[in-house]
Symmetry: C2
Subunit: 485 residues, 2 copies
């Protein structure tokens, strides 16, 4: 393939300022936020401004036999937004328009490159918001959120991205454009918009989406509950949900993260606390007050030390700033970290958090925890120093063991970050060959020659062992706790 010619052809489609082919400039695109994987520089980056341009780029690459890979902000944590097999990376950042807002029907049509938070910013004055709120929302794009079916702190109450996408405009690998779903609820035929969400760019490239907007709740109450030990805090999480209360958010933050956050953002978490829960209730005030009473009672029953209620919007914003910037603040306590993403049943929280601690100890790495406790969606941050020989390998081994543990107790290996390249080799631990074959057939229905985002989700002979994650059975599997998936 003549790359110079391809670059010239693409420049004709997207303009000369829309093509990057200088090797130095391409290094910007060789990784996403999963930093420990090898670099995968694309051969060319195209930066289209419209669906028609994306379609033309895809068509040209299809003819040339070159794979394409879509990319939003590159904040993904599983190696999904890099050109694992080379070829043309299509950056969607220039497609960041809000095409229309229809508040009467609580919908907006946006382009895929729009930054998540910008949508809420655009409708906040009219007291509406876009519910999916991944911690990366100030940078990540709605297209990327759709690719990974992103979650976020408030997805406990409002659900994952898939529940907020009504319709999609999609460019397939051969350059054809299809419309999936529709603006009315439950359109006839198959729910292709639903299955597209979370397909991590392996079906095609979403260039625009019709998404739901929600009216702001009448009130919001944010509480910080301080506990003496993780066990008590976990019991509180299980008991709150057992009461039938669904908080807007229910986050757990452990002592390692508290120290880091207080140094950097001064969120107002007590420096000496072992663990805190950030609990947010929203809705009509009468409902909030009733729920707050119930939450307080549960916290007292589970030995809370203190519950602080944010007095005003400033204090609320500060508490949240601590949570949202936790991953960044961790730089204060470790040179590097490996952030995991897995889901277990809430009732297993105390047990599994203890096991994760033990895994860290066995591998000689410290593990900090800040996560969506209400969902059972864990985010262990495995701290290590990559300059010390062997530490990266130990961190990855600890991460792998945590994932095996979650599978063994009937959980899953990704809550919201996706499979990407990072977790390809875990798929056969969760699905039979037949189940994976069914998935591949559906991928092939959209993307028959694996031309769009190849080298993701499904393990191949080539990838087996490539990532270097070493499996070994977790002790819990020998204790009869293993369940059928």
């Amino acid at each position: 393939m003549d790359l110079t010619r391809l670059a010239r052809d693409l420049a004709r489609i997207v303009g000369p300022d829309g093509v990057v082919s200088d090797p130095d400039a391409l290094t910007v695109y060789e990784r996403d936020a999963l930093t420990y994987l090898s670099e995968y520089p694309p051969q060319i980056v195209a930066l289209p401004r419209s669906t028609a341009e994306v379609a033309a780029v895809a068509r040209r690459c299809f003819e040339a036999g070159v794979p394409i890979t879509p990319r939003g902000a590159g904040t993904g944590l599983a190696g999904g937004a890099v050109a694992a097999r080379g070829g043309v990376l299509i950056g969607l950042n220039r497609m960041d328009r809000i095409r229309s807002v229809d508040l009467a029907n609580r919908q907006a049509e946006v382009e895929a490159g729009l930054v998540n938070l910008w949508l809420t910013n655009a409708v906040r004055e009219r007291r509406y918001f876009f519910a999916p709120d991944p911690s990366s929302q100030a940078a990540s794009t709605i297209g990327g959120n759709i690719g990974n079916n992103a979650g976020g702190a408030h997805c406990l109450k409002y659900g994952m991205t898939v529940g907020h996408v009504l319709a999609l405009e999609v460019v397939l690998s051969d350059g054809s454009v299809v419309h999936l779903g529709g603006p009315a609820p439950d359109p006839p035929g198959y729910d292709l918009a639903g299955v597209f969400v979370g397909s991590e760019g392996t079906f095609g490239i979403a260039t625009a989406a019709t998404v739901r907007l929600l009216p702001e709740p009448e009130g919001v109450k944010t509480m910080l509950a301080i506990f003496e030990c993780v066990q008590d805090a976990s019991n509180a999480v299980a008991a709150i949900t057992a009461e039938g209360i669904i908080p807007a958010a229910l986050e757990m933050i452990d002592k390692h993260i508290i120290r880091a956050v207080e140094e950097v953002v001064r969120a107002g978490y007590p420096q000496d606390a072992e663990v805190v829960l950030l609990i947010e209730l929203d809705g009509p005030w009468a409902e909030i007050e009733a729920q707050a009473d119930a939450v307080l009672k549960v916290c007292r029953r589970t030995n809370v030390i203190e519950v602080r209620v944010a007095k005003d919007e400033q204090e609320r914003a500060r508490l949240w700033k601590g949570r949202k910037e936790a991953a960044g603040a961790v730089g204060r306590i470790t040179p590097t970290y490996y952030l995991q993403d897995c889901v277990i049943r809430r009732t297993l929280l105390p047990r599994i958090l203890g096991e994760i601690d033990a895994i860290g100890a066995r591998h000689g790495v410290r593990i900090a925890n800040v996560f969506h406790a209400g969902d059972g969606n864990l985010h262990p941050l495995i701290c290590f120093d990559e300059r010390v020989p062997g530490e990266l390998e130990r961190a990855v081994a600890a991460g792998s063991e945590i994932l095996r543990l979650c599978i063994a107790v009937g959980g899953t290996v990704t809550g919201e970050h996706g499979v990407g390249q990072e977790k390809m080799n875990f798929m056969p631990l969760m699905y039979s060959e037949e189940d994976l074959a069914a998935m591949l057939k559906v991928r092939n229905a959209f993307n028959p020659e694996n031309r769009c985002n190849p080298g993701k989700i499904f393990p191949t002979a080539k990838t087996c062992g490539e990532v270097g994650i070493a499996y070994r059975p977790h002790p819990i599997e020998q204790q009869g706790l293993a369940v059928r998936l």
Copy 2:
């Protein structure tokens, strides 16, 4: 194909009492609840007792080149559960076991032939319930609900069936068995369980499902709001949801249905009322009381005549009995009816209900309305007498015109009953050729030779004109109200 031999082979799999091939006995299976379509008797009916038996039947039919069609209770309203291309109909009614109940994780694993209401009956004492509640729930099966992504009165608050299915055990047309989804939230890889729900048996046969159970709300309040005209009642519906209140159910019942229901079940609806809303609130009591106040205020603002609150569980049950048995009671006011199912935006309710009335008048048929107003999911009951020559045709023409009207204003042609055979010819009005081709490719990924439930959802050269629904543009399309779908 030697049918006698096939029947003998199938009897070896499911036992002699599990095969029906006598032509008289087969007439039971030649229709579903969409009565105006032609009869489609299957050639053989198989009644398996296990997933292994379903798989063996499917495999044998695949070898013999004979299509298979799954069927639950046959209560479907779109001709989906009949053997449109002949072959073997697989009745799942004997697979009606609850395999396991796990209240700690709010899940149950059930076989596809389990009647919807039986699941709630099994867990009611422990104060849990299965949320999807189609009006047919005392007869329809969970497998059938999954096939059609069934709704129901309480889906306004709790969502359609798709939100309550975690995992599926599926037999594909060649007899292979795959597992889609998983018991933990958001399993990695594609959401194949999600896209299977609503695929109307064209992907394969669901034999078992892991479904969500919900804890009963602390309280329930049911109100009957009586209005002088449909316009006022529609305004109340729009205003209640505009307040940010999501009732558990918000149903509209017009004068025709009120008369019929009061003659048969004496639900306590006022005989002389023009229209009533059945409004149910549930949740913690504090929330209910706050919402009830707001609902009362809205109703007063929209000229309600009276709001009655059910005093006790008996009165509540009676009000609901009227709604749930409305379709049956309609027999008192018409010899036959054709029940439609379409969705529009709530804000258009007053306008569209007026248009539906006018369509009935133009075609000389009376149209009664009982429907999920909160969702904008209309169910016009087109009344006619099939013994009078021409009345069936006029009813079908009126139904067709209502569907065209809904499409023209950005709605859809089925809210919960599915496309089946009834609405195949409307699909090209909602989707482009490319969009339909994308759907067909996904069907082919699961069911490559169209062996499972052929003759449904997608129009073919053969079906065009077969159903005999005559299209003509609705006047509203000329009024510039048409919107892009």
